[in-house]
Symmetry: C2
Subunit: 337 residues, 2 copies
């Protein structure tokens, strides 16, 4: 079977099973089912977080895109990893950068890439300590490995959601996917979708939001929305062994989508790379969570649905009363472009 027929979800499930069968999991608190691995450390009340995310030219970005710069590529490569740490309620610490570049790359481009990496690192308190630079006969590949830490009692995994709890996100959805659409289709013109394109090229990880949520000790499950609600919510449900109901008219489509004449709900449901946090909590705790986010300077949680029993599956309730299964979102191993 070819990878494109299997898809990422099944591949991950398959690899996870093999790694689990291989045994020897001493010290591992979280692994492939979560945004980052979490590891026990001797004599410490903190867990070590460890994650990596790779960006591949012509899959995740194109140098020909209007608005593309090497500086933003550097920012994004680190930012998406910081987002994984944010999703665990943690704090990022040290990063390594692996780069594959063709020999005809201008050194100035690498300088700009590092400017973006360093700008992001300084913004979020990360220390870049080195990496690997290798040749490539084809496109650019940048893989960031990031360490982080979180107090043992603050770690939030994907697996803690329970039926009856609320499902919320930290902000509006769909901007990055709409930006991708504009860059790839040129419709509407990039000038009209500047905010959407910026969301794609220069995502802001919700690090402080994740920490504020973790500090409440009231969030039962959390992850970042890297592949979109329609792909990511099922992952959270699978880890928590629950179902879910999404209310279509509560989904916070990014207002810039509508302004650009795009169907905001579709992008909000199916689009990836928003890097907002998706999280669950008991309804009784809504005001405490609202107040914690507001105290930290952020908007209240945007409630989009409710956790159901596993046998209920994952449903979208539309304003007209109709219910449908959640559509699928972003596909890996197929060109996004």
């Amino acid at each position: 079977m070819m990878l494109s027929n299997m898809g990422e979800k099944k591949l991950i499930e398959r690899l996870r099973q093999r790694l689990t069968e291989a045994g020897l999991r001493a010290g591992v608190v979280a692994d492939m089912g979560d945004d980052t691995a979490a590891l026990q450390q001797p004599n410490s009340d903190k867990l070590l977080l460890f994650t990596c995310d790779m960006l591949v030219e012509d899959i995740h970005f194109r140098r020909q895109w209007p608005g593309f710069t090497w500086e933003k590529l550097g920012w994004k490569a680190l930012a998406i990893n910081i987002s994984d740490i944010a999703a665990m309620g943690g704090r990022p610490t040290y990063a390594l950068i692996s780069l594959a570049l063709s020999g005809n790359t201008e050194v100035d481009c690498i300088d700009q890439l590092y400017s973006g990496l360093l700008r992001c690192a300084q913004e979020y308190g990360v220390i870049i300590i080195g990496g690997d630079s290798v040749g490539s006969e084809q496109g650019v590949v940048i893989d960031v490995s990031l360490l982080g830490e979180v107090e043992k009692d603050r770690l939030i995994r994907r697996s803690g959601a329970r039926p009856g709890e609320l499902i919320a996100v930290t902000g509006p959805l769909g901007a990055a996917a709409a930006g991708l659409h504009i860059l790839e289709q040129g419709d509407p013109s990039p000038e009209k979708g500047e905010e959407l394109i910026a969301a794609l090229l220069e995502p802001k990880p919700r690090l402080a939001e994740g920490q504020a949520l973790a500090a409440t000790n009231l969030v039962t499950a959390m992850m970042d929305l890297s592949d979109g609600l329609a792909d990511d919510l099922p992952r959270l449900c699978q880890e928590s062994k629950v179902g879910a109901k999404i209310l279509a008219d509560e989904i916070p489509a990014h207002p810039a989508c509508q302004e650009a004449g795009l169907d905001g709900l579709e992008y909000a449901l199916r689009g990836g790379e928003d890097y907002e946090l998706l999280f669950t909590f008991a309804g009784d705790n809504l005001s405490a969570i609202t107040s914690a986010l507001e105290k930290a300077g952020f908007s209240p949680p945007l409630v989009v649905g409710e956790i159901l029993r596993p046998e209920d599956g994952i449903q979208v309730h539309r304003p007209d009363g109709s219910t449908s299964p959640l559509p699928e979102g972003f596909k890996h191993f197929q060109s996004t472009a």
Copy 2:
């Protein structure tokens, strides 16, 4: 300026300077100048080691090579990272695997790749905890991030070599580069160079050797030979701010090179990917180091030269009495093939 004109050494130096200027180096004991980063951990007498190494199709390997298997690719991707931990005197612990694969990759190939990763992990006591799998429109890229640990007083860096000390390696050199030559040129036939090809495709990190050497507390500087003596010794000398003298007739050319009709000395000097350890120590400690290696079941150190003062540069002394500067070795950012 294009990257191919600058070369890896200058690129690393440039990036290092930028990262250092960026400040904020709290807790960093070793970084870009060494095989791995070494980080302080609160309440621990151990340092955290953190490294990554990337393999890119058609730069580091070709699927068309006789003897290539996905299983061996998996082994090698992890093994070269373990070698970096070995070079610090450490013990590897947890690994993440980033994979870029095209959608038409057979799932069976990924299974084999993971078989090789897991075989290597089990052999060297590593736990694979997850990673990232993304699409690629071109070749395969595999980047492994590896954590490890080492007692603070056992860490061996590249920077401790002093004039007058001996330079040694843990085993014969040049086999992997000769294997690469055979695979790329078909001369001699792959059947005649099986041992050399195996050295390239399935390298064995010298983990136990590194630990035995670290336990003596007598080794002043160490690194692994990933790019070959002619490229790697200057790096060690640069970090230690010393010069060096290599005795050509002491360089342990791999005997299989000569058997295959190849110039062993050239491959031993200029060839990469042997993953033997290169290390330095005071001549008075030769017998203690020999006995430590032999007690652990390994060959005595193979002494290849002597550390000189920085102003002496790096020289090769040939049996006829002639002296020449060390030739350059493996070139990054140019296709190896």
